[in-house]
């Protein structure tokens, strides 16, 4: 199954590199959003807490604009049936999860790099905690959005449904992620972030397990 999943991941990666549909849309979204924030905040003094919130807002909406592509693209091209005939449902889910994980990690790295370069008041004091939170946040976002993308792919109003369904599902992750990032930025001790890190870890385990159990029903019919 792992070999099949990796083959599905390579297929998605090759397809994305050839069509550049999600990559181009995501990069443009991030650049435009950060430019708007910079113009809106010109000359204003922002607290690190507020900037942390903005970083997560950009990460959330960037994910919303690109991560549904993994399943929506199969549905729009009419290749869902082809994939059903090729691989086991679990292999498809795992392949798509790996692809979304790689995409969201690359995207978040790009966002963080731009944020650190353009927002002078955004200074990270605890880099270890900061990168751990970003890694767990990316894992959680990829896991939740992959199953939601599979659910909404067959709907007519998929563009609207994806963020609407994702927001309540991602809310615990966003709250814990913002809190833990704030701690990394405001130079409080590591252990202050421990409850949020536990919540992030539990969230990833629960969402991934539920997704594996649900996917078979979502993928067929």
């Amino acid at each position: 199954m792992i070999r099949q999943a990796i083959a599905v991941f390579y297929k998605d990666l090759a397809s994305e590199l050839r069509t550049r549909y999600a990559i181009n849309a995501l990069l443009m979204f991030v650049v435009v959003t950060l430019a708007v924030i910079m113009f809106a905040l010109a000359g204003e003094t922002m607290t690190p807490g507020a900037l942390t919130g903005m970083l997560w807002v950009v990460m959330f909406f960037a994910a919303m604009s690109g991560l549904s592509r993994s399943f929506v693209a199969e549905e729009e091209r009419g290749t869902t049936m082809t994939l059903q005939l090729l691989a086991k449902p679990m292999a498809v889910y795992l392949g798509k999860l790996i692809f979304n994980l790689v995409l969201v990690m690359a995207l978040n790295l790009f966002i963080i790099a731009l944020f650190l370069l353009t927002m002078d008041q955004f200074v990270v004091h605890q880099f270890g905690l900061f990168w751990l939170v970003m890694l767990l946040g990316s894992l959680g976002i990829a896991s939740a959005t992959t199953i939601i993308a599979a659910i909404i792919a067959k709907a007519n109003t998929k563009g609207t449904l994806f963020p609407v369904l994702s927001f309540p599902v991602l809310l615990p992750l966003l709250m814990a992620g913002i809190n833990a990032t704030k701690i990394a930025v405001e130079d409080v001790r590591w252990d202050a972030a421990w409850p949020d890190l536990q919540l992030l870890g539990s969230y990833i385990v629960v969402i991934t397990t539920v997704s594996f159990l649900l996917f078979d029903f979502v993928w067929k019919d």
Partner: protein, 205 residues
């Protein structure tokens, strides 16, 4: 491969498509599913292929004496249909390499070229298959179905968009399957029906 369908019925949103269909297809047999437009031939074929769940009834598959589970059906089945879309951003050879990789097959470039030659497709085309004609795309669907040498071949309107040479290719593949596999064809075409040993007519419920 043996396929046993017992009392199969299908409803879409409470609308009955067909009901109480039973048949057995034996190894080496070419079996036809016929019926008027909208009677549910393609739906029945999709159910046989595990792509749709029947509302009622059961389907069982036996290959070399052992039962094949629905989860593993994709390994032992090839499926051709005009509504099957392949990855059109890739070339024919890239598509074959992709399917082989996902199926876990070791497939050389020479193997891919032999398959393309067998279905009458040019081996030197490197452009994406979206540039192919509808007949060439149908030939690619044949490649997709036979690449892993399955013992069960499901064909839905297999000669749609094909010229006389393409039809001969399809019937040649069907003839090959008589020696080592089973074929089920959903069709209304007289020439397709002539290839079948037996047929069943699907009546709309």
């Amino acid at each position: 491969m043996r396929v046993v369908a017992e009392h199969v019925s299908k409803k879409f949103n409470r609308r009955p498509i067909f009901k109480d269909i039973s048949f057995t297809v034996e190894p080496g047999e070419v079996f036809g599913i016929t019926g008027r437009n909208g009677s549910g031939k393609s739906t029945l074929l999709r159910i046989v292929g595990g792509l749709l769940t029947p509302t009622g009834g059961t389907l069982r598959y036996h290959n070399d004496g052992s039962e094949v589970t629905h989860e593993n059906l994709h390994r032992v089945m090839g499926y051709v249909a005009p509504y099957l879309t392949l990855y059109e951003e890739f070339s024919a050879e890239e598509n074959i390499a992709l399917y082989a990789r996902i199926r876990g097959l070791t497939h050389t470039r020479r193997d891919a070229q032999e398959l393309l030659e067998r279905v009458g497709l040019p081996v030197d085309r490197t452009d994406p298959i979206r540039a192919f004609s509808s007949g060439m795309k149908q030939r690619m669907r044949l490649v997709f179905a036979i690449l892993h040498k399955p013992p069960l071949l499901l064909l839905d309107e297999p000669i749609s968009n094909l010229d006389a040479q393409g039809m001969n290719t399809v019937y040649g593949i069907v003839a090959d399957f008589r020696t080592h596999g089973t074929v089920i064809i959903a069709t209304n075409d007289a020439e397709d029906i002539a290839q079948c040993d037996r047929t069943i007519s699907v009546e709309a419920a």
